[in-house]
Symmetry: C2
Subunit: 258 residues, 2 copies
């Protein structure tokens, strides 16, 4: 049994309800977005048009809470430690199981997560400041618009990692190997050019730790689709709770395209 399966089983049985960072090391984790069929059609188009913030790993069949490709024997109603339930853009519940919310018209989207490319950076000897400081990554709304689809529209959200200046190019080329987990950065060096006024005031996550000689590097962020869905006041949506991800059976190294 893979480590990922063991941990999913624990989560399913209610034996683990915490954050998943660092769990089942080497296995990719995924963001969850569950929508009704009607909005799911628009959302599928939205992620297709915005692959950098929304790298799609799997979409379930309508009504099915089971993954076919990214994990074996997984049930998306029970195998994530904590969920968030939204109605018309408002948070209404934060359960550890969504069986009672599941309906025949729901579709689940699993989207790649930056944990995987952070693993690749660390493997390459590139420090990841917020991980070293046990903080959350700082995230910012930008002046870059996502490509709209149906009811979904809004700004691109980016995560920022301060990278030592002599490792910036390596960070860009390494993450370009991982398009399914946001891929190459979308900007290097000048926050004001993408509409970010103050790096010390992120829109989500924690204040960054920037060391001397660090250059700010920005990647498209998986918060984008959730932020866009909330702002679009979609009727009904379930997501994972921040930091409480779905653990797949795919190894991070398998996500590299070369």
């Amino acid at each position: 049994m893979k480590e990922s399966e063991i941990i999913r089983k624990k989560i399913r049985n209610g034996d683990f309800v915490g954050q998943t960072s660092g769990l089942a090391e080497g296995f990719a984790q995924a963001n969850l977005v569950v929508l009704r069929e009607k909005e799911a059609q628009d959302f599928l188009l939205f992620v297709q048009r915005n692959p950098k913030p929304c790298p799609l790993l799997e979409v379930t069949d309508v009504g099915s809470p089971y993954t076919k490709y990214v994990a074996q024997d997984a049930d998306l109603r029970t195998d994530i430690p904590k969920y968030r339930v939204y109605e018309k853009g408002e948070l209404v519940d934060e359960p550890t199981d969504i069986t009672k919310y599941w309906k025949e018209d729901l579709v689940a989207f699993l989207l790649g997560c930056s944990f995987s490319f952070e693993w690749a950076l660390i493997e390459a000897g590139i420090p990841v400041r917020h991980i070293d400081a046990k903080r959350n990554v700082p995230m910012y709304k930008t002046n870059i618009k996502t490509k709209p689809a149906g009811i979904f529209h809004g700004p691109l959200v980016v995560s920022m990692r301060p990278i030592p200046y002599d490792k910036v190019v390596k960070a860009a080329t390494i993450t370009s190997r991982f398009p399914n987990v946001h891929g190459a950065p979308i900007h290097i060096g000048y926050p004001e050019l993408i509409g970010i006024r103050d790096l010390d005031s992120p829109d989500y996550g924690d204040k960054p730790i920037i060391k001397e000689g660090d250059i700010p590097v920005f990647w498209a962020c998986g918060v984008t689709p959730q932020a866009v869905a909330i702002e679009s006041k979609v009727d009904f949506m379930i997501t994972h709770s921040p930091g409480h991800m779905f653990i797949t059976d795919i190894r991070n190294s398998e996500l590299s395209i070369f």
Copy 2:
């Protein structure tokens, strides 16, 4: 007959003595360094230790002026439009033929040239400012030291291309596919961090044209090995004259590693 062969024949016959930029489009051009066997041993080690400024395409056998791999039926004594001959670091001649200088103890090095990756940038829709303005690329000595070998030591020389900020990452990832022609940049964005005080005063080449929203991107430069050899006051050296390159039979696209 390939276009590259046709042009080499013209050059050999003395029918062409100009710069090679834009000639035999699609074919890679190469820098030439010719040294005596004794210094060639050190130089081979130097290029092995510094592959980014010195991407080695071919080394000839001792005493042979003929290429075996990068071009068919080429004679390095006659197939370059113009040469430079140095004695103890001083320029002593700039002939169009080096037959009279050739000796049995000489070794020729052919090194990859940035023309090839500029071709890749242009193919990808990334403007190359100095080409658009028909100028030479600006080049700068940095505070980055090359790894020394024998008598060869000195600073890394870089070329700089101003790139629109929203194309910088693409420029980095595209050129990373071409390690044989300097590969990925060595620095992005902050010239002072690599010891460059004034972008408007390059050590070699022309003053840059930087448009609004451009970010300076720096690549290791093929001038490095020549500059290092001159500064090391090597007894005897022949190089191509700047801009007068050796035209190979290798297509630029073949140099891509993926």
